[in-house]
């Protein structure tokens, strides 16, 4: 079964919706500070790309395309601020690990895709969406450094190892 909890989002299930998670963004996302509730859905037609859609009445048209960071860059190293770690309910003194392809983890690390009218699709690696799978609490963890671009060009997604779960 394909699952959102598997970092590679491998498409091996049947049916239209492979998995869905209701997420709470206590701080919203930059630009959408009042949108707290989102649903993350993995559908057959789009897997391994998932949709992250607001379920707030005031912003229900807001929908992002996201993909596990592990499919874009190898060994992405997370840098989450103490405030964001506190929001996530994770240990403040230890950086969570972005899960390696095909592995299970207690966090999800997703990059938001930008699909311009013309020009290549890019992924925001400056500010990945980090989800605590135990609590379904999520933040967009904006990095304070410049190690990764907010417009990381992606021509292809890496095929990854077998999905567990």
């Amino acid at each position: 079964m394909a699952s959102l909890a598997s970092s590679s989002f491998k498409d091996s299930g049947s049916g239209d919706c492979l998995d869905r998670l209701d997420l709470d963004f206590p701080q919203g996302l930059p630009g959408f500070e009042t949108s707290r509730r989102f649903v993350l859905q993995l559908q057959t037609a789009l897997a391994p790309i998932a949709t992250l859609q607001s379920t707030e009445q005031s912003s229900s048209e807001v929908c992002f395309l996201v993909v596990p960071v592990a499919l874009l860059v190898k060994d992405y190293s997370l840098l989450v601020t103490r405030e964001d770690l506190r929001t996530l309910g994770l240990e403040e003194d230890r950086q969570p690990q972005a899960p390696a392809p095909g592995t299970l983890s207690n966090v999800l690390c997703l990059a938001i895709l930008t699909v311009p009218k013309d020009g290549p699709i890019t992924a925001n690696l400056l500010a990945p969406v980090v989800v605590n799978l135990a609590t379904r609490v999520a933040v967009q963890a904006v990095r304070a450094d410049t190690a990764y671009s907010h417009r990381h060009p992606i021509a292809t997604l890496h095929a990854t190892g077998e999905a567990s779960c």
Partner: protein, 79 residues
Amino acid sequence: MLVIRRRPGEVLLVGDNVEIEVLDSSPSYVKLGIRAPKSVMVMRKEIQITREQNLEASHAVAASSSVKQLLDSLKTAKP
């Protein structure tokens, strides 16, 4: 770019009503205190960049041809 050397406790003025005080510094960071009217937006630059990127990304059209191409690239890359 204007470059000014300041020590902890020293203050800079920007315009008529913004004050920036150097509170603390170490080899790896500077801690700043900013006094500004509510009407002046103060935020970390990377938040502003992410905000603009989010606004651009927020109306995703999953059916677009470039998304389809990207998905095709994954299928062809599969072993």
